[in-house]
């Protein structure tokens, strides 16, 4: 960081070498977490299936008018997981639903972490009354039951996938904001920040070049953990009928199952697969998140290594 600007070439290649090194170090540490590896493997498989869904099942699987089977067939060779009340293949819907559940989970978590990071860094950097005000707002969001707030938002806005993403994103950021603020305060108390200021670094420079890279590991871990929460919330909202009725998602499948009376009529094959899928994905993300956290989080990490 103190390399003279004339040696830019060397500086950037140095930086790249340093980054490669830290990625390798990260991977070596991550590899030691067996649960994390399981989670990663499960995620890779599910992501692959979701990406390949158009090839595997085709978007035709959602069509009710071209449904191949009869209503609520039990599992068979033609329909490994049976059919829903429209005669559509549940396996196809499950695969197709993975796309929405994963997309919503990822985007909502990204949105929530983005908001949280922004608020956290700003509050930590500027301090004073600004920090007090933003942190009180954060507190307010923190004590509000997330689900209730998300339900209200999803009810007020029109039914679409974006609404769900927004509803989850804007309700689940406070934890990240608090974590990031704490880390920002810790980073900014280090002497090199003072030096950077003395050399003429402005607020923007300090926050983006020095604080952000240092809170990034925390943010990454937080995102991975947040995704499983977001997926669960998405499923809950869809189950409560607040999702986009036009798309197939796992939560939506559970709601359809309920509406068809699958619970009381004992059609377990309609209920179990989406439920298990939600649980598996949420678990996989949590396992990954915990592994990443224990590798990267300075507080957990120092004692672990």
């Amino acid at each position: 960081m103190t390399v003279p600007s004339t040696a830019a070439q060397t500086a950037s290649s140095l930086a790249w070498a340093r980054r490669r090194g830290s990625v390798a170090r990260f991977w070596r540490a991550y590899r030691t977490h067996r649960a994390g590896l399981f989670g990663l493997g499960a995620l890779a498989v599910i992501a692959l299936v979701a990406l390949a869904a158009p090839l595997l099942v085709g978007s035709d699987v959602q069509s009710v008018t071209n449904a191949p089977g009869a209503a609520l067939e039990s599992p068979s060779g033609a329909f490994p997981l049976g059919t829903d009340q429209f005669g559509r293949s549940l396996l196809g819907l499950l695969i197709w639903g993975a796309r929405i559940s994963l997309t919503v989970g990822l985007m909502a978590a990204a949105l929530s972490v983005a908001i949280g990071t922004l608020v956290g860094i700003l509050a930590g950097h500027f301090g004073g009354w600004f920090s007090t005000v933003t942190m009180r707002i954060t507190d307010w969001f923190l004590v509000m039951p997330t689900l209730v707030l998300a339900i209200v938002l999803a009810t007020v806005m029109s039914r679409s996938v974006w609404t769900v993403i927004l509803a989850i994103g804007v309700t689940s950021w406070p934890t990240t904001a608090r974590l990031v603020r704490a880390q920002t305060l810790a980073v900014e108390s280090r002497p090199y920040i003072e030096r950077a200021t003395a050399l003429g670094g402005g607020h923007g420079h300090i926050m983006s070049r020095h604080v952000l890279p240092n809170v990034m590991p925390l943010v990454l871990a937080q995102t991975t953990l947040g995704i499983s929460n977001a997926i669960l919330t998405e499923a809950t909202l869809a189950f409560l009928g607040l999702g986009d009725p036009d798309v197939v998602s796992w939560g939506g499948m559970l709601q359809d199952a309920r509406e068809a009376g699958a619970v009381s009529s004992g059609h377990w094959w309609y209920l179990a697969p989406p439920g298990i899928a939600i649980a598996v994905v949420a678990l996989a993300f949590t396992l990954c998140g915990r592994a990443v956290e224990s590798v990267l989080n300075p507080k957990l990490g120092v004692s672990a290594r």
Binding site: S63, V64, T65, A67, A71, L72, Q85, F86, G87, R159, G241, P245, D246, R258, E259, A260, G261, A262, V263, S264, S265, G266, H267, R290, S294, L300, S303, A304
Partner: protein, 615 residues
């Protein structure tokens, strides 16, 4: 958890130990609870009270008969008040209610009713002709009181009660519905004190004073409506000691409650539920032709009587060709086969085939059959051609993108919406299915393009026809009218006036059929199906119950109080008494244990992982 119950011989790891202990304890508790968890019908309580519990889902709109329009509310009113006449359970003909006899004058303009002497209000006062006269007069003079049933009295000139047993109604013009006035007669001495009938919901003071077979004793919004039998009811007291309409907003929960015996009756079953209940012991499934029609309503441009237009219905729907095209692109047969799975009859005219005298069918050249090609041709004719993107766009550049109001509580709405999206999507029409818990707000404000609509039809069709007349429109955009769908058609109104005045049954039926033909041609109300009443009751709680019509009829939402009044409790052989409270307790304990188990496992795993991290 008390881990000490497990002998510590092999020194298992603390986590495994905890898990084991939890498992064993939970298992033991569940096993012990197995018998009380699946009790025999819990009908008999320790005090020998026999309760008939009916699962319902529709919210009560109002408990005031002046305002109530929903099926659940009118059902309540049938139970707690008397109309002048009732319908026979066998064949729907008019039989005595509060009136024992009714006679027209030779010019048919004056009707004299003899009021029975053996009907008493639940506070002990005699129900008289005075009460009936007051009820009708109030509806004639107070607009708020005419909200729900105003159509019956619109043609009344004068209503008097010359003696406590004699009611005289003078008419402006002949009226055919004089033996089918579906108006609950209210106790004058209780209702006179009410100020604003448009606001009074009759849900403040319990028990509600009435003279029907049941007395309304308690009501909590969306939780329950409770009744006690009227022991002095002139037709004979009901046989159960209590009747409870219990709310289950979720159909699956209602069916689960029926399976467990917590409720005696559940209606609106899905095909899957009906199929699985049909195999269950002690449960009888009743799949009867319904008295409802299920229609696709189009917004004809909401307006009020003062001529003001409001709402935001799609202007393309004002074109009859567009309305016909939409219906021609709706495959009713698939709806019956796939959505209702055979538990419905394909829609024809407005009045269901169960009322055979008035049921009407379009003939071959009038019928709008399912024909997507014809639908496309109609849209082309109407000037809505497909653009390059495959969407149909009008001359004003506005695409045919419709919204359809769907009841979130009715899975059929949503399912049919899915099919429509695909059928109409092929034609280049966009459809947004808006499923709401409360469709009334956008509906009354005219803020919809299309809507799933349905009404239960009475043996006398006057009321369901009246809701499509201009007279039913709200007076101003702010008011609520009796109108269903803002339809106001001159020809329909003329026919309505004629049928009202026609005393000859055959001629009147013919006029009613002409009205349905007119309604069919306008395309404002397209009947897609007549859903069956698919319902089930526990035979170990209800031994006998009267359906209406008696052979192959329905139970919930009858034109009368027959089902619940006639229900006979099954023989009680449950001697173990007091199961009810203990079951709740056991369920509570088991739930707590399971929750605690989950918590312990969670904590154990947490501790383990953090311990690992710290090593």
């Amino acid at each position: 958890m008390d881990t000490t119950t497990v002998p510590r011989t092999a020194r298992p790891s603390p986590r495994a130990l905890t898990l084991l202990a939890v498992g064993v304890t939970a298992l033991a508790l569940t096993a012990a609870a197995a018998t009380p968890l699946n009790p025999a019908p819990r009908q008999a309580r320790a005090d020998g009270q026999r309760t008939l519990t009916v699962a319902v889902s529709q919210s009560v709109d109002s408990l005031s008969p002046f305002l109530a329009q929903r099926l659940v509310s009118t059902t309540v009113h049938r139970l707690i008040y008397e109309n002048l006449t009732n319908y026979d359970a066998k064949d729907n003909h008019a039989i005595p209610g509060l009136a024992t006899k009714w006679e027209p004058s030779p010019d048919k303009l004056t009707w004299t009713y003899t009021i029975r002497e053996n009907s008493r209000w639940s506070d002990g006062k005699q129900a008289t002709a005075e009460d009936a006269a007051w009820t009708f007069n109030t509806m004639m003079t107070d607009e708020g009181a005419a909200t729900a049933n105003g159509s019956f009295v619109a043609n009344f000139k004068k209503v008097t009660a010359p003696s406590p047993t004699k009611l005289v109604i003078e008419l402006k013009k002949p009226q055919a519905t004089m033996a089918a006035l579906d108006v609950p007669i209210l106790p004058r001495h209780e209702w006179e004190k009410v100020g604003d009938y448009a606001k009074f919901n009759n849900d403040k003071k319990f028990p509600v004073v009435g003279n029907g077979p049941f007395i309304l004793t308690d009501y909590k919004v969306d939780q329950y409506v409770k009744f006690k039998p009227n022991r002095k009811f002139w037709r004979g007291a009901p046989k159960f000691d209590e009747l409870v309409l219990k709310y289950y907003k979720d159909g699956d929960a209602a069916v689960a409650a029926l399976q467990k015996g917590e409720v005696s009756f559940a209606s609106n079953l899905t095909p899957a539920q009906a199929a699985s209940l049909a195999k269950a012991k002690n449960i009888k499934v009743n799949d009867a032709p319904g008295r409802r029609f299920y229609a696709l309503a189009t917004n004809p441009g909401a307006r009020s009587k003062d001529g003001k237009k409001f709402g935001d219905g799609h202007p393309a729907l004002l074109n009859p060709k567009v309305r016909q095209a939409l219906f021609a692109a709706t495959d009713r047969k698939t709806i019956i086969d796939k959505v209702f799975q055979g538990h419905a009859v394909e829609g024809q005219g407005y009045i269901p085939p169960r009322f055979s005298a008035y049921h009407w069918k379009p003939d071959a050249d009038q019928r709008i059959a399912y024909d997507p090609a014809r639908a496309a041709a109609l849209l082309d004719e109407a000037g809505y051609k497909k653009n390059k993107a495959g969407k149909r766009v009008g001359k004003d550049g506005r695409p045919l993108d419709f919204r359809i109001l769907c009841h979130a509580t009715d899975p059929n709405d949503k399912a049919i919406g899915k099919y429509m999206q695909e059928w109409w999507g092929d034609l280049g029409i966009g459809l947004k299915v808006e499923c709401l818990d409360n469709v009334s707000d956008p509906w009354l404000a005219g803020e919809y393009d299309l809507a799933f609509d349905g009404w239960s039809v009475n043996p006398d069709p006057d009321f369901v026809l009246s809701i499509h007349t201009c007279a039913a429109l709200p007076s101003t955009p702010k008011d609520t009218g009796a109108t269903d769908n803002f339809i106001c058609d001159k020809k329909f109104d003329e026919l309505y006036a004629k049928q009202t005045a026609e005393y000859d049954a055959a001629k009147r039926a013919d006029l009613v059929k002409q009205m349905q033909s007119r309604l069919y041609d306008t395309g404002y109300m397209n009947v897609m199906a007549y859903p069956n009443a698919v319902e089930a009751y526990r035979t170990d709680q209800i031994r006998a119950i009267t359906t209406m019509p008696e052979s192959g009829g329905n139970l919930w939402g009858q034109d009368g109080y027959w089902s619940w009044w006639s229900a006979v409790p099954a023989e009680v052989d449950d001697t173990s008494g007091g199961n009810g409270s203990s079951t709740g307790l056991v369920i509570g304990i088991v739930t707590t244990v399971v929750l605690a188990a989950g918590l312990v496992v969670f904590v154990a795993m947490r501790r383990r992982s953090t311990a690992e991290d710290r090593e």
